[in-house]
Symmetry: none
Subunit: 197 residues, 4 copies
DNA sequence: GATGAATGAGATTTCATTCAT
DNA sequence: GATGAATGAAATCTCATTCAT
């Protein structure tokens, strides 16, 4: 593995453990087994490191999520799959997720290139949720009047669960299953008239 | 207003705007119009300032939320009230909320006194959600099999909405209303058999 | 002597000896016998130190020059006094002069606050030369057709002599006396018609 | 153009623009379109680059100046030609001149090989001035008692004008013409007795 | 001849905290 | 109670130079 990869790996672990601001570049270099200056040969600055991590992680997340979605049979299954995928991915890539969640609050101004990266990722996830809702509305597996807002609601729910996951303050597999059941009840057409509200 | 209050006020604004690590004690002192050293007369250290902010803010949030809940007529109304209260409170106390959200990810180890404060606050909110679910189950306004998990789901949803709010990436009043509708559909007994899942 | 004065003194000596870029802040602090951080308590940054040195030195130079000029009897004596004053001042404040001369070339863009300081100082000296030329033209001690340009010529001459002085590449007291004689010949009215050119 | 020439060209431009210390070797390499390491193949170190620039520039300056001087008819014309040559050369080789002027102050100790280069150049120019003065004294175009000191005075004047030129703080063509007139008045024999002083 | 990855020494600056007054 | 000068540890980043290829 090249030095650049070693740096990315170490940085990922340390940012996840201690946060971005709390991790020094000297620490990353030492952990990666390279000279301090080497960091700044491969990356413009400290932020450049996290930028690369974000960019790579976002790509993997989206690619995997899409491949999972492609295997679903109808809209409701899609929604289920998205929620469950997030749970699984969070467990398998806990460090990446932790960095994402840690970094969100530091992203103040909209010009921030990292904020743009994360915003774009979020928007793509919301779009996939929306597409599943639309598919479900078409194939009859989902009854939903306000697709736009409902997509936001589901995304909020997923985000909140992920947060609980990171805080280790709940049995998240169970939480995820209950969230799916919750959505099913809210979205399944049937005795309940979802237009009513 | 005494010097201590001035410090708390300035710190609240600055922490909300720029984050904890990014705000220097000198900056707080200048903004508050006191000498730098005065901060350390009133607070043990920088962390002591945010501790006091958290502690006060949590008290206000909970007291207000409880007083709102006391005025509801049944369990389902309670759930609605909690979600809506969070929206209103977030709007009115945006700085406090922003500090909470900003600080969460920095709280790593469980021994952390600020993490304990926030955990306790979260737990109390979840308890209030649970109590409303139980009330609703008793008064017939809610059909819910797994109260414990459902409370976590709703809390996750609220947390996610608050996050969207802070990121200013959604029309949150509309999002809140749709979330309430979503919960209503998921929780209202009726044609839909909520035991089924 | 307070710490701030000690810093200024050390910085003056070191900047004169080695130049601005070549002197590190750590070096200044050590020489002044203060902690490294103390520099940045008293000055915004490294440039702030040289700014203060410039500002103080320029004031002293101008004040002294003006007081010398006030004691002259006519315009030609004024020109002589200016050239001689510069020689004496350079000898007595060799460090200040060295810093000035060293710093000039680093001052690129006009927005530079230090460049503005130095430009203003230079302009004031040129104005004093011009005033002496005008006085001399009025009192008959000087014959000069183009006062504006001649003032620039004399200032260039003074600047060049100061430079030679710093480079220690000439016997400058003798050079100064010859420069005065040179100017006398060029400016004294008489058999030579200075309009001619 | 070979790589070495490209490096020299880029370095000349950058040193003139930003100064020696402020220009990094990496910057020069990039500007020249060669690899960073290539610099150190062609030059011993960073200083070696400026040494070559100085050496070449000094040669050109002197050769041209001498060729101009050869075409003058008497001593006074020689002095005029030197002053005017400097103005023209400065305008045409502004970068070279800027590097010279920028570098002078950094040359502290006499052992410095670059200082020796510049000192030698300066001495040769002064010698040429002196020779013109002597020629003029012989051919009757100049009246000058102290040739040695006067040569220094004229060199100082030229240096000062060049500095004004670089600082862009005067209309230097006009300044140059006035300086020539100034020298004419000071040096031309006539009604004025130059022995007198 | 030429490259560019890697280095390590050092530079400037920030900042929470202390303490004498 | 309050101050603010002073500190020193640590952080980010720069950069001339080396060297294996």
């Amino acid at each position: 593995m090249g030095r650049k990869q070693a740096i990315i790996q170490s940085a990922t672990r340390l940012f996840a453990q201690k946060g971005f601001a709390e991790t020094s570049t000297a620490e990353i270099a030492e952990d990666a087994g390279v000279a301090h200056g080497t960091l700044f040969y491969h990356f413009k600055n400290k932020r450049g490191i996290i930028h690369e991590i974000f960019s790579m992680a976002g790509d993997v997340y989206l690619r995997n999520l899409k491949s999972v979605l492609a295997r679903q049979n109808n809209g409701m299954e899609g929604i289920e799959a998205i929620i469950r995928f997030n749970e699984n991915y969070s467990r398998d890539h806990i460090q990446q997720i932790r960095i994402f969640q840690r970094f969100f609050p530091d992203l103040g101004n909209d010009a921030d290139p990292e904020k743009m990266l994360l915003d774009s990722l979020k928007q793509q996830v919301i779009d996939l949720i929306r597409k599943s809702l639309e598919t479900g509305a078409a194939d009859g597996s989902i009854a939903c009047a306000k697709i736009h807002e409902t997509a936001d609601v589901i995304h909020s729910l997923i985000f909140g669960i992920t947060h609980m996951n990171l805080m280790e303050s709940a049995d998240t597999p169970a939480l995820t299953e209950e969230a799916i059941a919750f959505c099913r009840r809210a979205l399944t057409p049937g005795g309940q008239d979802c237009q009513r509200v």
